[in-house]
Symmetry: C2
Subunit: 172 residues, 2 copies
């Protein structure tokens, strides 16, 4: 779902990392430049569940979407746009058949989380990420941020999502 | 994955609910009777993620498996059997195509959590649930425990799982 990304322009400050973004940075052509998140928000694996998702096709992923406390509160209160401080994490895994489970079930029906494919984040900071709808985007593979080229499509795609650039709805 | 259930014999105490299980209860034929969990463990929706799963076929579900603190600690430490106090929750939703997402993506690939189909729990108490491998099983639909007949298959099926009756592995 959130498997999108776009061109790195500046290092973003996520959690306790100070980054100076020069005022003229990336504005050579008169447009504010997108800023990308390059540090993994600490503690994200302990965050609460927003929902789950499955992508077919090339992605072939199954994922859990988690939110920090600000995100969960906003979701539960139906608050839009999401407030600054919201961080949404999408943990993606290969969508793999479970031979172990299917053997017990007696038929092929069970798919589970295989190897992790990537982790993606959306970080809300309406000032810092003003050029991209108030959201900073991030993709990490094996703990490393994705290359700039692969990040090009994050904002244009998420900008089409109906609820403040966020596709995922809260599951009860 | 954990879409299994079996016959109710006695009301189980889960969280703050005292239940008296008579010593001769269900032992008419000399076998200890299974005991089922009939109260939803409070706060489960705030628990941390263990993994995600997708079941095809009649179930057609996508689910998140969450664990209480005891469960998460045991999983992360690779501790087997799970200690008493472990509770594992499986939140199941209909596996539905997202027209909203697919419209943006330009192709049919996205599946999300539709209406909730059920919530299932496994509660570890090696004494109370001795007759079923130390686990109490529960299925709730619309907040109500499933009927006794539908609970018959929980233990026999989970008893075939390799890791202390639990199918779900921890996702990183």
């Amino acid at each position: 779902m959130k498997r999108i990304a776009f061109a790195l322009v500046a290092v973003a400050a996520v959690a306790g990392v100070a980054a100076y973004i020069g005022p003229a940075y990336g504005q050579a052509n008169g447009e504010a430049a997108p800023i990308f998140v390059k540090k993994i928000p600490p503690g994200y694996r302990d965050w609460r569940l927003i929902s789950v998702a499955h992508e077919e096709g090339n992605l072939n992923s199954i994922g859990a979407v988690l939110g920090n406390d600000v995100a969960i509160k906003a979701y539960r209160e139906g608050k839009l746009p999401f407030p600054d401080g919201t961080i949404i994490a999408a943990l993606h895994y290969s969508h793999v058949a479970s031979d172990e489970n299917n053997k017990v079930f007696g038929q092929s029906q069970s798919f589970v989380a295989g190897p992790q494919t990537n982790i993606q984040f959306m970080v809300k900071d309406s000032k810092k990420y003003a050029a991209t709808g108030g959201w900073g985007f991030a993709t990490f593979k094996d703990g490393k941020p994705a290359d700039d080229a692969s990040m090009k499509s994050c904002f244009p795609c998420h900008n089409q999502a109906a609820r403040d650039l966020v596709f995922t709805r809260y599951a009860p």
